[in-house]
Amino acid sequence: MLQVVKAPAERFRLGRVGWTLISLLALVAIWEIAALIAQSRYLPGPLAVVQVMVREAQAGELWSNIAATLTRVAFSFVVAMFIGSAIGIALGRNPGADRFFDAWLIFFLNLPALVIIVLCYIWFGLTEVAAVTAVAVNKIPNVAVTMREGTRSLSKDLEEMAQIYRFGWWKTMRHVTVPQLAPYSAAAARSGLALVWKIVLVVEAFGRSDGVGHQLNIAFQLFDVPMILAYALAFIVVVQLIEMLILQPIMARANKWRR
């Protein structure tokens, strides 16, 4: 009853990795065939793209740009998670405030990302603060909505239990409230990260002089497709690594009590 049976899950995972590899190989093959047929400098084959990637990596350009982008992602992600959670929890706790601010939330949810970016640059200048703010403002409403949902679903039963056994504020937060909100935080973090990646690139293309977005913008002006694809690929790899090495282990740890 208490033993966790691991074998079938591992066999399943191995199979999944195999399938992923096969499917990726198929994608590369189709790409190669398409490039061979097209014979165009606007559709380079996989090998040409990898060569550009290696060249950029050796020159150090690739790393410095990815590092710049990652830093912006990290800052705006943390800011948005923090402020969005605070707003979401406050609205979930307080129905009156929720009724009042719901319309504001809908307004910001539907405000196009591009509008926020342009306005931030106009109001705060072409600065790092404006860039990070623009990304964070885009994501905050999403986080707030998810966390509001989580707060509404907090168990009254467990809250009463904590009250009877005199847990106090800190203990209740740590052992009762936060674990209940964890799945919602995780959902907000995952969908949020996906959103932040994309918006950071746009912000960089518009008003920054480094980062993957900036590099893509230059490549676009030169119609340098191998460069565009090289950065895109490198970026996908980095995002996947972060997902696999950071997010998934955290989730697995947070979920180990589940049946």
């Binding site: 009853m1 208490l2 467990l158 239990m161 009877i164 056994y165 052992h175 009590w257 589940r258 049946r259």
Partner: protein, 241 residues
């Protein structure tokens, strides 16, 4: 441990559930007044939906929307065993029990023995969702007892268990209660359970519940573990009906 000194006095004049939609206001409790002597085991029984849980929640301080007064004669330690175990699913059995004590509390040292006594030795490091409901209820019981509470409130803590499991938990409760004096308020609709456990039974009437009967149950601890004696006493108190 220190002798029990707090006497509880309950005086609930009126408790209503407000009107919702087409349903009009409902008066659940009316003029319920009683005192509970230190060390007694008071069972509150009555028809289901008759306001027993509401009364217990008022006494526990969870429901403050009523007319009347609850006086514990100070600020005693109170534990509450709810109708569902209400364990934290993300904490192990041991952690759930330890969490009701402050860090560094000397009572933390008693947890392993208590866990063994309630039969959860093998499950101490398990998460609640991985053990049976009966085991979860044992954990909830241990969580209440580790506190060495002066008052123990219990709301049908053994419902939806099969009879042998429920009976073994009742025996465990009698044993724990006789070793560690505690004033208990126990809500149930099960008459045999009421007689087996209570030193006094308060029967609430249906409708706007008030106290219909207040009966002492003069059984020794040994008698309570004897089913025949419990049945005989049950017939004496409630008749054959």
């Amino acid at each position: 441990m220190a002798p029990l000194t707090h006497a509880l006095s309950v005086a609930v004049r009126k408790k209503v559930f407000p009107a919702v939609g087409l349903r009009s206001e409902i008066q659940v409790l009316k003029d319920i007044t009683f005192k509970v002597d230190p060390g007694s085991f008071v069972v509150i029984t009555g028809p289901s939906g008759g306001g027993k849980t509401t009364l217990l929640n008022i006494i526990a301080g969870l429901d403050k929307d009523y007319e009347g007064r609850i006086d514990f004669g100070g600020d005693p330690r109170v534990a509450y065993v709810f109708q569902s175990p209400r364990l934290l699913p993300w904490r192990t059995v041991y952690e759930n029990i330890a969490l009701v004590l402050p860090p560094g509390d000397p009572r933390l040292a008693n947890i392993p023995e208590l866990i063994e006594r309630v039969g959860l030795k093998e499950a101490a490091t398990a998460y609640p969702e991985m053990i049976s409901l009966g085991m979860q209820r044992r954990a909830a019981l241990a969580r209440a007892f580790i506190l060495e509470p002066e008052f123990l409130l219990m709301d049908e803590p053994f419902v939806s268990l099969d009879d042998p499991t429920a009976q073994s938990l009742r025996e465990l409760l009698v044993e724990l209660w006789s070793r560690r004096p505690t004033t208990v308020l126990f809500v149930t609709h099960d008459r045999a359970e009421a007689v087996m456990l209570g030193t006094r039974i308060l029967r609430l009437s249906g409708g706007s519940a008030s106290i219909a009967e207040d009966v002492p149950v003069p059984l020794s601890v040994a008698d309570r573990l004897n089913r025949e004696k419990v049945h005989a006493e049950q017939r004496r108190i409630f008749g054959n009906g």
